[in-house]
């Protein structure tokens, strides 16, 4: 049957919709696959830039279009082709497919340009997505003996401030009373009802998260970046639970200092490792600014594990003091070169704490791919600890 647009052809909308949607359908499927692959590589993707508490709540991810692979020959160093135009044997010109620019007199191109997608992802979405995907446990905020209180409504009284007069309730009383024979038809003081407030204790939902980083000479840039990536995702996970979350950054070598976030990740120290200085600093901040009874304290410590031998006793003491106040302490060993699997001075310190019944966990983080397993490990350990508590 021959047709033309000018003619009236009854179109079956369902049929046409199906036909039109095919390209778009496969396009969407492609984009879905791109997102899947972004998801798989998130830890690496967010390893750059200061993302932890910064204002930017989105990450931008440049992506290539996916390629469906076929067997192809290796690119030849020298390839031959056929062309058309006025040339003489021996003529030489620049290959437009390599220079990229299209010169005015240059020959027409040989290959298509490459298309890049720029995905913008909301960090909150990523986190929700990951938590569901990886079935990470949600933390339970610990409700300690808390002094924090709040006024809540509770019942009515015949006396009270005018601002708390409950008109509806008062009117009901009037109606009830008028039902009786010989009653006064207007409002009396007897009818008025006032809302009452009572003090109620609120669970502590504040949290202070300490990130303690070993910046001694033995920590490489890569180690620090690993630690940073881990810290980032940890803090995102904790944010899901706590309305107000404060992050504190402490770095130590043989001394310890508190830093702001941007400074924190640029710090590079030198010299030895004395973990107890870091623990002492954390203890100091806890006691100065927070009441462990009303505030959930978390400590995450990243180090390569090479604590000075002479510091053992002091570090143990410092850590025990923190553990007494904190909901959870975590130790992540970043030793990209060696995988000693926590068989280090600091590793043993945390292992002892765990053996003594402290809420703690340790993980050896060697590669960016492990960041997620590390986060999962800590959150599982923490939720177990919370259940036990």
């Amino acid at each position: 049957m021959s047709t033309h647009t000018d003619s009236h052809q009854p179109l079956d909308p369902a049929k046409w919709y199906d036909l039109f949607s095919r390209g778009a359908r496969d396009w969407l499927r492609h984009d879905e696959k791109v997102r899947d692959s972004v998801r798989r590589h998130l830890p690496q993707i967010v390893a750059g830039g200061d993302l932890i508490t910064g204002g930017a709540r989105t990450v931008r991810v440049p992506m290539k279009m996916l390629e469906h692979y076929h067997f192809r020959l290796r690119k030849a160093e020298e390839s031959q082709g056929a062309g058309q135009g006025k040339v003489k044997p021996g003529d030489v010109f620049a290959d437009p497919s390599q220079t990229g620019g299209s010169g005015e007199k240059g020959p027409g191109g040989r290959e298509e340009g490459e298309v890049q997608l720029l995905l913008e992802l909301k960090i909150d979405d990523i986190v929700d997505w990951l938590w569901e995907e990886m079935q990470l446990p949600n933390l339970k905020a610990r409700v300690g003996p808390s002094e924090e209180t709040e006024w809540v409504r509770e019942g009515w009284d015949r006396r009270g401030a005018r601002s708390r007069l409950d008109r509806r309730r008062s009117f009901k009383e009037l109606v009830k009373r008028r039902g009786a024979p010989g009653a006064i038809p207007t409002f009396t003081d007897e009818d008025l009802r006032f809302r009452q407030l009572a003090r109620r204790r609120q669970p502590a939902v504040r949290a202070a998260v300490f990130f303690l980083l070993d910046v001694s000479g033995s920590m490489s840039d890569r180690d620090r970046k690993l630690a940073k990536t881990f810290f980032f995702w940890t803090v995102q996970g904790l944010r899901r639970e706590y309305r107000s979350l404060e992050t504190l950054f402490v770095a130590h070598t043989t001394e310890a200092w508190e830093f702001s976030e941007p400074e924190f990740f640029q710090v590079s120290g030198s010299g030895g490792t004395v973990a107890s200085t870091g623990f002492a600093k954390v203890n100091e901040i806890i006691h100065e600014r927070y009441n462990p009874a009303t505030c959930n304290v978390y400590l995450f410590y990243a180090s390569d594990g090479d604590n000075s031998m002479s510091d053992s006793a002091e570090a143990r003491e410092g850590l025990a003091a923190i553990a007494a106040d904190a909901c959870f302490t975590g130790y992540v060993e970043v030793s990209s070169g060696l995988s000693r699997q926590l068989d280090t001075e600091t590793g043993r310190l945390f292992a002892e704490l765990g053996a003594a019944g402290g809420a703690t966990g340790s993980y050896a983080l060697n590669d960016f791919e492990d960041v997620w397993s590390a986060v999962r490990h800590f959150f599982s350990a923490e939720s177990r600890a919370a259940e036990g508590a």
Binding site: M1, S2, T3, H4, T5, D6, S7, L19, F20, R22, G23, A24, R25, D26, W27, L28, R29, H30, D31, E32, K33, M65, L66, E67, H68, Y69, H70, F71, R72, L73, R74, K75, A76, E77, E78, S79, Q80, G81, A82, G83, Q84, G85, V87, K88, P89, G90, V92, F93, A94, D95, P96, S97, Q98, T99, K105, P107, G108, G109, E112, V115
Partner: protein, 453 residues
């Protein structure tokens, strides 16, 4: 333009084409929106199986269209009847041209032997078959889930060029047992030999020998995997065979592109010239459109590093008809494919006239090479060998089910792209469900074995 006017033109052009010596099955014309034209270009068939890789092509096609690089006037599917889709945005002149062009294609696909042979395998209803495959795959997605079906399509479509066109579409499995050794000729020497050594001649009841799988290196990977994968499920095999059937359909389109497009262009030009019933203005417009279609790539930039197959084919057919007559041209369109066509009919004179040249590209430099006709033929044809894919063959299946593939690097001139090959092995391994190995050579020409997992 009203429906009736164009309908009238179609009939008169058809009659004119038949009088001029073309023979074709009836063609059903349908006007469709541009977006649908674009999808046909992406999928190669009006309704085809879903796969994300088509989505990638679709995006590229969208970009191309937005940049105004490409415009599609028609797509035609051979068959009886043939289906031709015309862009509904075409004007009268364009549609007149396109109608003539489509009839050229219809004649070509009916009479060319390669088309005939493949069509005999695939049937004349590939459009319907492909739609049916799409439906089957949709059902498979509902039954087995998108992930599993996609894994099958990832592998099958990655191997879509790896078929053996010389074998039957409905090819049966290898004979299970090796053929018994041929009986020795009973000549004088044999008799004397048997007399000398009685035991050697005594033919006992010979045990049947199981034939190795495959008995020879196998190029038809889609078929081989579908038949011999140790643990493939039947619906997975069906998908492999569906992809293979579509490849059988695509092969002649691919292997006769220069001839076929040239032939259709030649005929639309000729039929337009002879169609005295077309108004003058429409004729002029149509000829303008024709010269856009068969324009050499080099028209804008003086020198192009590629050829327009329409232009090359069109010029060759004009020369052939001029020099050898229509009868000879009709015989050539029946017998040749692009390999024979280019080698036999792209002459020195024509190559010079069209200013074709060979070049070598190295380190960002293009160097124009000395004219050499045979070498020029080969450069034009090189991307067309083996359906445009490297020669990868199944060589052996080990006792534990491990599949050994081998790449014939001596034939292709160099080794495989290792990264891509690994990915293809990964796709394949998920279906073969045993290790898959591939032998090729690296940059230094040393033998290299890739494996998945």
């Amino acid at each position: 333009m009203s429906e009736a006017v164009w309908q009238d033109y179609v009939e008169r052009i058809e009659a004119l084409a038949a009088r001029s010596g073309l023979s074709f099955h009836p063609v059903e014309f349908e006007a469709v929106p541009d977006s649908f034209m674009m999808e046909i270009a992406v999928y190669g068939l009006p309704v085809r199986m879903p796969h994300w890789s088509f989505g990638v092509r679709y995006i590229y096609q969208l970009i191309q269209r937005h940049m105004g690089h490409s415009r599609l006037f028609e797509v035609v599917f051979p068959g009886n009847p043939g289906h031709a889709y015309l862009a509904s945005g075409n004007g009268l002149a364009e549609n007149v041209l396109v109608t003539a062009h489509v009839l050229g294609h219809a004649d070509f696909s009916r009479n060319n032997m390669l088309f005939q042979r493949c069509q005999a395998q695939v049937s004349e209803h590939i459009v319907e078959h492909a739609a049916n495959h799409a439906r089957q795959i949709q059902q498979a997605i509902e039954t087995h889930g998108l992930q599993r079906v996609e894994a099958v399509l990832d592998a099958a479509l990655a191997l879509e060029q790896h078929i053996d066109i010389d074998q039957s579409l409905r090819r049966s499995r290898y004979p299970e047992f090796a053929e018994p050794a041929k009986a020795l000729a009973d000549d004088k020497f044999r008799k004397r030999f048997a007399a000398l050594e009685p035991r050697a001649g005594a033919a006992g009841p010979e045990a049947k020998k199981r034939a190795p799988v495959p008995p020879h290196p196998e190029r038809d990977l889609l078929w081989f995997v579908a038949q011999y994968a140790p643990e493939m499920e039947s619906w997975e095999r069906d998908i492999f065979l569906a992809v293979r059937e579509e490849s059988f359909y695509f092969y002649p389109v691919f292997a006769t592109q220069i001839m076929n497009e040239g032939w259709a262009s030649y005929w639309h030009a000729r039929l337009l010239r002879e169609a005295d019933f077309i108004p003058q203005q429409a004729y002029v417009d149509a000829i303008k459109c024709h010269s856009d279609v068969v324009r050499p790539v080099a028209a804008d930039s003086q020198v192009a590093l590629g050829l327009n197959p329409y232009h090359l084919g069109f010029s060759m057919w004009e020369k052939i008809v001029e020099a050898q007559g229509l009868e000879a041209a009709l015989a050539i369109r029946a017998q040749d494919d692009d390999f024979a066509f280019v080698r036999n009919h792209l002459t020195r004179e024509l190559a010079d006239e069209l200013e074709l040249f060979r070049y070598s590209a190295r380190d960002g430099q293009i160097r124009v090479l000395e004219p050499d006709l045979a070498a020029l033929h080969e450069v034009i044809l090189a991307p067309k060998y083996n359906f445009g894919a490297p020669t990868v063959m199944a060589q052996h299946v080990r006792a534990d089910g491990t599949l050994e593939l081998v790449h014939d690097h001596s034939l292709d001139g160099r080794g495989l792209d290792l990264e891509r090959s690994r990915k293809v092995l990964d796709y394949l391994q998920r279906l073969w469900r045993r290790p898959v190995l591939l032998t090729t050579v690296n940059q230094a020409g040393l033998v290299l074995e890739l494996s998945a997992p």
